[in-house]
Amino acid sequence: MNVFLRGLIVAASVVLFGGPAAFANAQAKKVRLGVEGAYPPFSEIDKGGQLKGFDIDIANALCAQMKVECVFVQLAFDGMIPALNSRKIDAVVASMSITDERKKAVEFTDKYYKTPARFVVKQGSTLEATAAGLKGKRVGVQRSTIHDRFVGENFKSADIVRYTKQDEVFLDLASGRVDAAVLDMIAAQVGFLKTPQGKNFHFVGPVYDDPKYFGYGAGIALRKGDNSLREDFNKAIAAIRANGIYKKIQDVYFDFDVYGAAAATAAAAVTNAAAKK
């Protein structure tokens, strides 16, 4: 067998069988973080193809605080928990809300921010965010999110349309394929309402933050039993909260306190921001 062929077979078998495992063992300090990259302003790809956003900056700050090397792995949101549990990643930093339902499958750190949710519709739409008002209406949500669950359980009469990415919801909301969307207020504000695509749209209905559906804020998801990593993350979150790094990062993106934001405060802040634009 010639050398080239042998090399090729060795390379192929490493890639096929031993690759990820060998890598993880050789570099024990590397933490693989699942991020979404399609959820502005929390996680997006800039024009140069680099990840940026609040999630990304917080993740980088936490990794620096923990003195570990982090690698970002970009995944679809509905693939995060399966990827975590099948050990393709070690933690999820993707604006994932801490909910009791998800806690059955994964572990969470303390929250690193909390914002409420609301309906977005076209201006002039008479749609009401009630069970009767949504009967037969097409409501767009991102699959596997708290908003997906919320609409599914509270507005069963609505025709729920599920998308893999939030920007796909925006595309179809703008083109009129869906009558409304339910999503995080900040994501709606920055990712849609402030963009040319969303200029004829606005929030309607109440501000939602019922912990039963919307959880206890966004946390970092970890595999069950990965307690030392969770402790490290919790300490790091507390540390960057205390030393001002968190404040510095959040001020780049938000002009209100995204950490504590009670629903009403955040809603008012977002509405003020909307009025300014």
């Binding site: 399966p82 699959r143 599920r162 179809d172 083109s175 009129g176």
Partner: protein
């Protein structure tokens, strides 16, 4: 393996199978209706007739169906005039966009199959028909098509199965087909293995049902081309009837 979660999700899969079969049936019928004239034109000796069809099949077969679906679903919707046109009620439906993409796709492949089968008809049969004084239309409807359609069966059964698998793409534009059901189960239970294994088993069941149907059809209409049984004098054409799955 979490069988309870699978059993709980079965009604969702049943609805998904219904949607998948509906997508498949509508696009196959529409695709076949388009493909017959396209295939005849493609096999034509006149380049002004065959070239445009060649262009169409070249473009469709040269691009992934997913790209075609994205172009139809997201691409076309970008233009204001499309959204204001009378076609918007149709184009705004994800189901319609999926069927449109699948139909255009299968029409291109099937047209090539039909054209290929027409070229495979022994020329002697056409010459014989000509010498009997049949008109061009008579040769087409009495000699070429009946023979070509039979010969096309094995290749077309492959196309049908490829299309069945291709319909899985509908789930990326929000259609809740069989794959959509699997993605929904995955997102609810975080059990990707169970979710997609169930979908895989359903697809396999559908595939083998279709294979069975085509075997029956081939046994019925392709007997004259099968190798002769109970005889050492095998002069018939051996057909590769096993579909490529």
């Amino acid at each position: 393996m979490n069988f309870d979660a699978i059993i709980e999700s079965l009604p969702m899969y049943a609805t998904g199978i219904g949607t998948t079969l509906q997508l498949l049936a509508v696009s196959l019928v529409a695709g076949l209706l388009l493909a017959m004239p396209l295939g005849i034109a493609r096999a034509s000796g006149n380049v002004w007739i065959s070239r445009p069809v060649w262009m169409y099949t070249y473009v469709i077969r040269g691009t992934p169906m997913l790209v075609q679906l994205f172009l139809i679903y997201y691409g076309v919707a970008q233009f204001e005039w499309v959204r204001l046109s009378v076609l918007w009620p149709l184009l705004s439906s994800a189901w319609f966009c999926a069927v449109l993409a699948f139909t255009l796709n299968t029409a291109a492949y099937t047209a090539e199959i039909v054209a290929g089968a027409m070229r495979a008809v022994p020329y002697g049969e056409v010459e014989a028909a000509n010498s009997l004084g049949m008109s061009k239309l008579q040769v087409l409807t009495r000699i070429l098509l009946p023979s070509a359609v039979r010969r096309a069966l094995p290749a077309y059964s492959n196309e049908v199965i490829m299309m069945l698998h291709g319909t899985a793409l509908a789930s990326v534009v929000t259609v809740m087909d069989l794959t959509g059901a699997a993605r929904e189960m995955n997102s609810r239970t975080y059990l990707p293995f169970e979710a997609f294994l169930t979908a895989g088993a359903c697809y396999m069941l559908l595939t083998f049902s279709l294979v069975g149907l085509f075997h029956f059809a081939e046994g019925r209409w392709l007997q004259h081309l099968a190798p002769r049984k109970n005889s050492s004098d095998v002069r018939g054409v051996v057909l590769a009837t096993a579909p490529r799955i």
